[in-house]
Structure formats: C-alpha cells, structure tokens
Symmetry: C2
Subunit: 216 residues, 2 copies
C-alpha cells in the first residue's frame, strides 16, 4: 500500500497540511468585532450543514437566527443567570479565575445562531437511532463542527455558548415542541487570531497533547 | 468589508473550495477492502482529536482500538443482535428495504475504534457543562468529525456504527466506569468512492437539499 496522494480518492498533500492547520487555528471565539459578516460567506458556512453526516439521513438540524433585540436580550439574560449560578458553584480557589473569564461574545457577535435537534423528525425512519437515540443530536454536532471549520476558513470566528438553560431558551425563542438545543453559536470577526485557546492562555486548563488510546 | 482571501486569517479560496469538496465527498462507509491501513496515516487521523474543540478544555475523548478476535466478535455479535431487533421493529412496508441495507463494515474494516466520553473527567473543572452536561459527549462528536474529514482527505473511509447496545459494549471491552460510548468507527479503504450516500442510493431516505433557518 502506498502512502501519499496516489491513494485513490486521497486529497493532495498540500491540502491535507492546510486542513490540519485549519483545525489547529480554529478557536472558540468570545471576543468579536461588531462589524457585520458578509452574507455570502455566512451562506457558505451554513451550506456546510448540508453535507454533514446524519443518522439515517435524518438531517435533524434546525437553525434559528437570533436577530431581534428582544430575542437577543432573552438569550443574554439566560446566559448571565446561568453563568452567575456556575460562578457560585466554583470552589473558593477557582472562583476568582472563573469570574475573570469571558465566556460568551453575545454582546458583540453580529450573527447569533441557536442550533437545535428536532428529536421528533420522521426523516430517516429511526434508522441507527434505536439503541442510541442521542445519534440525532450527535448529527447536529457534526454539522456544527463542519460550520465551525468552514467559518474559520472564511476568516470568521465562532464561539459555542453552552452556559444556558436550554428549556428556557426554547420557550423564549418559541421553538416547536421536540426541539432540543444543541448549541448557541456566536459568529463574527474575531478581535484576535490566537494560536492558543483562551482558557489555556488564562490558566484555566491545559491541553493534554496526546490522545489516550488503548487496545483490546 | 471585503469578501475573499484578503480578510485577516482567511484561508485561500482554492483551499476553501477543496474543503467544501472534502465535506461533499465524505461518506459513511460500510463496504471496505480488507487491505491494511497505513499506520502513519491513521496516526495523522487520530492526531486530529488533539485540535478538536472540547468544553472547558475537558478533552473527554477516550479511544479503544478493537483488535483481538475476541473483542471484535463481541462487538459484531452486539451489532447483529441490535440490528435484528431494529429489523423486527420496522413497519411491514419498510422491513424488506431495511433487511437489504448493509449497515456496518465490521466484518471487513481493518481498523475499528470504539470512541468514548469520560463523563467523570476532572479536566476542564466542569466549565460549560453545568446546564448542558451533554457538552462533554458533544466534544467527542466534534473530534470524531475532525477524524472523519481527515481520514477522507487521506483517502480512507470511515463508517460510524450506532446500532449497538452501548452498555453491553462497555462491559465486553472492559472500559472504566463513567465512560459512555459515543461512536464505533470502522476505518479502512472503501470499496468505492461514492458521490451519493448509500442510504439515498438504496432508496431509504433522500437529503433535503436546503437548511431550515428561521429568524426570531
């Protein structure tokens, strides 16, 4: 077997190196410029949902673009209360550090997308989701990952906010019953292009640098 | 604002086009050649876990490479029983079609990886996972998505098997308590490089072709 680009269907080595660089440069962005996002670029990012894997081809992803002042205020209040509760739960030794972290770009990000899984979709006829119904939500995560990488390639930053009460957000945004929040995405131009995750730079946690693999 | 590569940090247009092509050509592969996988290529694929996003930098991913005849037999028996149960649950009108589908490459794929989430990891100190503890599993899904794309760029196919009893697999592979199965991946050279998902070619389901986006 030949390593290298001569393998059928392999992409060029130069592309593969750039793909690894893209993954390395992707960041969870919380500091955005307020300048608007080019709508054509945003459409290309959203189009990456269409080629994401989904269990049984169920395509359970649903997107709400959060635009109105009222909807944004509700989402921000939700985050602020959940974040205050999380701060209150920190140990004494970590509370000061936690309080210093900036954990969402919801005040500045020009584009905000609440991404949901329709748990009730008949699409896919349940294939692959009998023993692991969470596969529908995992399909949405895969789509968000493709969006995130595509956005970074376009020069756009994405921040995934999970410090939210998902049931309250569903109510505030009036989504249909059966939709589960998967991620709240802030999208825009990042203030800085960092090599290191902000949580690492701030001293919250470090990356392990190796993958734990065992053999059976 | 300028669209195009002159945006700070944007990747070249040629790369962005190839990235979209990569996502378009990624498939869920169930038909593998038995020839081995180049270990250096597999290592590059596994390295893509290291740059995946993870909530709080918790890096909760754990990988078991399923190699022994005993471990593979246990996983295969698990799939076959879950698949028989899923077939029995099909409506009359879809059972014949379901029975015709090939839903795993576990008999042929030279590399098989069971990918888990360590729900008990102290890493990340719980940041971002208080209201949405499922974020740890979602981090593992994001890492699998990066692996899948990297593998496809290397000319390797990946198939995600979810028709499994996850608790039984954890027992059979003797994983630590607190690990939750996220995906069982078959990896190898695909028999064919298809443009269309097999579930679509076989008439199980079609892709929608557009993304449902609403505004609030």
């Amino acid at each position: 077997m030949q390593p290298g680009p001569e393998r059928p269907g392999a992409f060029a080595p130069e592309f593969r190196a750039e793909l690894a660089r893209l993954m390395d440069r992707r960041r969870d962005v919380r500091r955005f410029l307020t300048e608007p996002v080019d709508e054509a670029a945003l459409t290309r990012c959203l189009d990456s949902f269409l080629t994401a894997p989904s269990v049984g081809l169920s395509e359970p992803w649903r997107v709400i673009r959060v635009e109105s002042a009222q909807a944004r205020a509700a989402a921000l209040a939700n985050f602020e209360e959940a974040n205050a509760a999380a701060l209150a739960d920190q140990s004494r030794s970590r509370a000061t550090l936690y309080a210093r972290l900036k954990l969402s770009g919801m005040r500045d990000a020009p584009v905000q997308l609440a991404v949901w899984c329709d748990e009730t979709t008949p699409k896919g006829h349940g294939l692959g989701a009998a023993t692991m119904p969470e596969m529908r939500r995992y399909s949405v995560v895969a789509a968000i990952t493709q969006f995130w990488l595509t956005a970074r390639a376009e020069g756009l930053g994405t921040g995934w906010v999970s410090i939210l009460d998902p049931v309250r957000l569903a109510r505030d945004l009036d989504v249909p019953p059966g939709w589960a929040l998967v991620g709240y995405l802030c999208v825009g131009h990042a203030q800085t292009l960092d090599r290191v995750p902000e949580l690492e730079a701030e001293g919250w946690e470090v990356r392990r640098g190796h993958l734990p693999v065992e053999t059976r």
